[in-house]
Amino acid sequence: MDRSLRDNPCLYGVYTKLGQAPTFDRYLRKFDSDFSVADLKLSAGANPNHRHANAVTYEPENFLIETRFNPDNLNRPSLDIARTFIHELIHAEMYRKLLSCSRLPHVNVNNMSNAQWQVYINNLKDDFPSLFDYYMRYLYNVPTNQQVSEPQHELMAQHYRQIVVQVLKQYDGNAHSDELYNALAWIGLMGEGIFNPTTALPSNPSVAWGKLPLSDRLNIKATYDNFINSNPPCQ
């Protein structure tokens, strides 16, 4: 953990409390062992290309995956910040899997030789077929007229929301309704762009969010609004 995060009372407080959530701890420990393919650095600071992002998890470089939290975006309830932590840890876990496939210090395919690319993509298909499938559908095999979306968010929206729910329940001892935990699990996974309040769709929605019935989407947004308005900010 970087000192910048340790020196931030809100982030460090949420992180410390999350350590008592077994599911979060299990994911974190994957980076702990001497045999882990990647190190994880948690820090706090500005992300110049993503000024408004709550946090950004960067592609591995030199076997290091960095998650950087935005100290300007902490005027939210601590449960929402715990949600950001697990959301980013899932990104880090996906990058860890990709790194294990590349057998290189990075996963930047543009910097791979043809031989390295062959090893990487064969390993990805064999070792993590679900991750491969999402990368194929949302990154490599995208029709030219289709907007590009992020494969990791598409996969998370479809298959990891229950992990988010589990961590949040463990974080606050199941103090809220299932409706709230389920709504929180969608935050950050709805897609990108401005939000149409009538359809509850961003301009570039994720596939999973777009498939939800309109009434569910509107309820989730209203539940989140109510949560943000009725709980004190972490900082």
């Binding site: 395919v109 690319w117 490599y140 762009g193 939000f195």
Partner: protein, 165 residues
């Protein structure tokens, strides 16, 4: 009144004044011309909910945004349709992974109806250009978005950044 009490009251007053000042300077009102081509917006049918996007410096036009997205698209001649195509692809031409650039600063209203204002007298606001050119100065501030309706009335929305992760 004892000196001790006097100092306690003085500290309370000073603290309260500082707090008020922080509250004032910690928020900013952004005035948007909805006809501008460098913003996007959407309202609910009953106009009780809204969302706004302000294109960031360097991404104001579609051409600039399309250029910025080029590394995130496959740059080979033929579309990759299956695993065999993918294996044969030149890795230098494959789309870049990782977070895409944020083209716009996006906000949504959070369950509060807008305030109606008849005039802007006494309202301190920043323009779209000022906001775009100095976005770092505003990133930690509470934001209100102001715009004019066709009937001359102004709407002021309490907004939050749309969560981006």
């Amino acid at each position: 009144m004892s000196i001790k009490k006097y100092f306690c009251i003085l500290i309370l007053i000073t603290t309260n004044c500082s707090f008020s000042q922080i509250k004032q300077t910690d928020s900013v009102v952004l005035f948007l011309n909805l006809k501008s081509t460098t913003i996007t917006y959407s309202f609910s049918k009953d106009t009780t909910d809204a969302s706004f996007g302000i294109y960031r410096k360097g991404f104001e036009t579609k051409k600039l945004r399309d250029n910025a997205m080029k590394p995130y698209r496959y740059r080979g001649k033929n579309r990759i349709k299956n695993f065999e195509d993918l294996k044969k692809a030149n890795p230098k031409l494959l789309p870049k992974d990782g977070p895409r650039p944020s083209f716009s600063l996006n906000f949504w209203s959070i369950g509060e109806k807008p305030l109606y204002l008849e005039s802007l007298v006494g309202v301190n606001y920043v323009t779209e250009e000022e906001f775009r050119n100095n976005e770092l100065n505003y990133s930690s501030k509470k934001l209100f978005i102001l715009h004019k309706l066709d009937n001359g009335i102004y709407l002021k929305w309490n907004v939050s950044p749309i969560p981006e992760e």
